[in-house]
């Protein structure tokens, strides 16, 4: 299988690799996929008081297209509000990276990772305002 130049670029120079402290109240963590399926993505977003994503970090176990999809997503969500981030569709990711049909699931997973990270952030805030401890990101 041959890869597009954009996939190769993200794979060879992945952007925003790493993570934030998961129990930080300004951080939302999404972990999607399963080792048995061959890909697991962990996406973390850091949200400021205005509800804008200031930074994003990822770690991915998966093929080159999965790594590239998650790397791209960390660039795209930066500077967006949570709702704007949720508007990113897997088809946009697949198109940007010129993913072949057999790799479309990688872009779907990346979209799911955004949704999971945003949902975690929102849950955490509802929970935090009620005065409970933060959730376990491992269960996200």
């Amino acid at each position: 299988m041959s890869y597009s130049d954009k996939v190769l670029d993200h794979y060879e120079n992945p952007r925003n690799v790493g993570g934030f402290t998961a129990d930080d109240a300004s951080v939302g963590t999404g972990m999607v996929g399963a080792p048995a399926c061959g890909d697991v993505m962990k996406l973390q977003i850091k949200v400021n008081d205005d509800g804008v994503i200031e930074e994003a970090r990822f770690k991915t176990y998966g093929c080159g297209s999965a790594i590239a999809s998650s790397s791209l997503v960390t660039e795209w969500v930066k500077g967006k509000t949570l709702d704007q981030a949720l508007a990113i569709k897997n088809t946009d990711i697949a198109e940007e990276l010129a993913l072949p049909p057999v790799k479309i699931h990688c872009s779907i997973l990346a979209e799911d990772a955004i949704k999971a990270a945003v949902a975690d952030y929102r849950t955490k805030h509802e929970v935090a305002t009620e005065g409970y401890a933060s959730c376990d990101p491992k269960a996200a």
Binding site: V40, K42, K59, C63
Partner: protein, 403 residues
């Protein structure tokens, strides 16, 4: 620095040995006759070359040249053996036995026979890839007509005990077919001693050309098969079609070289394989797939846990290797061979097959080891699973959202 990329995929195919290519060329341009032409010197020359090649192939596996039937390759040989024997002997019974780790060229004809009303038992190998002999014996029934077990596995390189399996079959009146595509020149084959009735061969896995293979069909006791290809009655009616003289000459030349050089060559290859394993075995969480002892020296199949196989292949793109990862196939299913050994899906997804051959150098192996050390580490830094492993989390206890 070795010349890149480095070919470590000899189990997929091998280059034609230059000595083989040299012997083939005159049969394309000069001695181009049809070996079936009985009326002139062009035909006689071609026939002589075909018969010499038949002797060379028979020489490597110690059988009578008259027991060798030319085919287009091991896939055709497997089809001819399995479907041909099943159809000829169906009056005796309609049950066949094979193993889940066989090549698709055996499994798919078995599936086809099931559609035609035969019944097939698919045996699971042990976790080391080898077949349990008692389990095999227990699967034989009064209506079993044929068992098919490969000699050397294409993915993990393990060598099945075809010696004992043949005895078990012969004692119970069951025909025994062996796919030997991956074993010629790698493991000794003595058909004078083995109780094997049908054996499939390929040229291109043993430094011969693609597009040519052979099926061994035992004469004593005489084994009958129904032809799958009709049109002229070539090869004693078992496989019609004009013989590809230059390909046949190439297969003969390749098998002759294998017979002469395999002992010394395999020692050298074993040394290289051991060096490769010693080099990557020092990495954390690397698992060997398949038995290390009962295995051809050419093969090393390892799972690099927490790193996905396709992304590892992408990182080590200067090495031509293959992976059991689903991402290399359209099906999204990881290697069925590794799964049949009971390997977890994630280890199957993380597997890489290195296969070493005649032209592999020590420098290339050293380079491969160095490259793997660099990139496995890099990909693990990117892997959330590696983080969890380092944090002492058992991945089996995590609730994953399958997709």
């Amino acid at each position: 620095m070795p010349k890149l990329p480095i070919y470590l995929d000899y189990s997929a195919t091998t280059p034609v040995d230059p000595r083989v290519a040299e012997r083939m060329i005159p049969y394309l341009t000069q001695q181009f006759g049809n070996p079936a032409s009985r009326s002139h010197a062009f035909g006689w020359d071609a026939e002589k070359a075909v018969e010499q090649a038949r002797e060379e192939v028979a020489g490597l596996v110690n059988c009578d040249p008259r027991e060798i039937v030319w085919t287009s390759g091991a896939t055709e040989s497997d089809n001819l053996a399995i479907k041909g024997a099943a159809q000829f002997y169906k009056g005796k019974g309609k049950h066949l036995i094979t193993v889940r780790t066989e090549h698709k060229a055996v499994l798919d004809p078995m599936r086809e026979l099931e559609r035609q009303g035969f019944e097939v038992t698919y045996l699971d190998p042990e976790p080391n890839g080898l077949l349990d002999l008692d389990q095999f014996a227990g699967a034989i029934r009064p209506d079993t007509i044929l068992a098919s077990v490969m000699h050397v596995n294409n993915e993990i390189g393990v060598i099945q005990d075809i010696d004992t399996l043949g005895e078990l079959c012969r004692a119970r009146g069951v025909l025994f077919h062996v796919d030997a595509a991956q074993s010629t020149g790698k493991a000794p084959i003595d058909l004078g001693r083995l109780k094997v009735d049908l054996m499939s061969f390929s040229a291109h896995k043993t430094y011969g050309p693609k597009g040519i293979g052979a099926l061994y069909v035992r004469r004593k006791p005489r084994i009958r098969i129904e032809a799958q290809m009709h049109g002229g009655g070539h090869e004693r009616g078992m496989r019609s079609g004009t013989l590809a003289t230059h390909q046949i000459v190439g297969m003969g030349a390749a098998y002759r070289i294998a017979a002469e050089e395999m002992a010394t060559e395999n020692e050298r290859i074993r040394m290289l394989r051991d060096k490769l394993w010693a080099g990557i075995g020092t990495l954390d969480e690397v698992h060997l797939n398949g038995d290390l002892q009962r295995r051809v020296p050419h093969n090393l199949n390892a799972s690099f846990n927490f790193v996905e196989g396709e992304s590892l292949m992408m990182a080590i793109k200067d090495l031509a290797v293959s992976s059991g990862s689903a991402c290399t196939s359209a099906s999204l299913e990881p290697s069925y061979v590794l799964k049949a050994l009971g390997r977890s899906d994630e280890l199957a997804h993380s597997s890489i097959r290195f296969s070493i051959g005649r032209f592999t150098t020590e420098e290339e192996v050293d380079y491969a080891v160095q490259l793997l050390h660099k990139h496995v580490g890099k990909l693990r830094e990117l892997s959330p699973l590696w983080d969890m492993h380092c944090a002492g989390i058992d991945l089996n206890t995590v609730q994953w959202a399958a997709h």
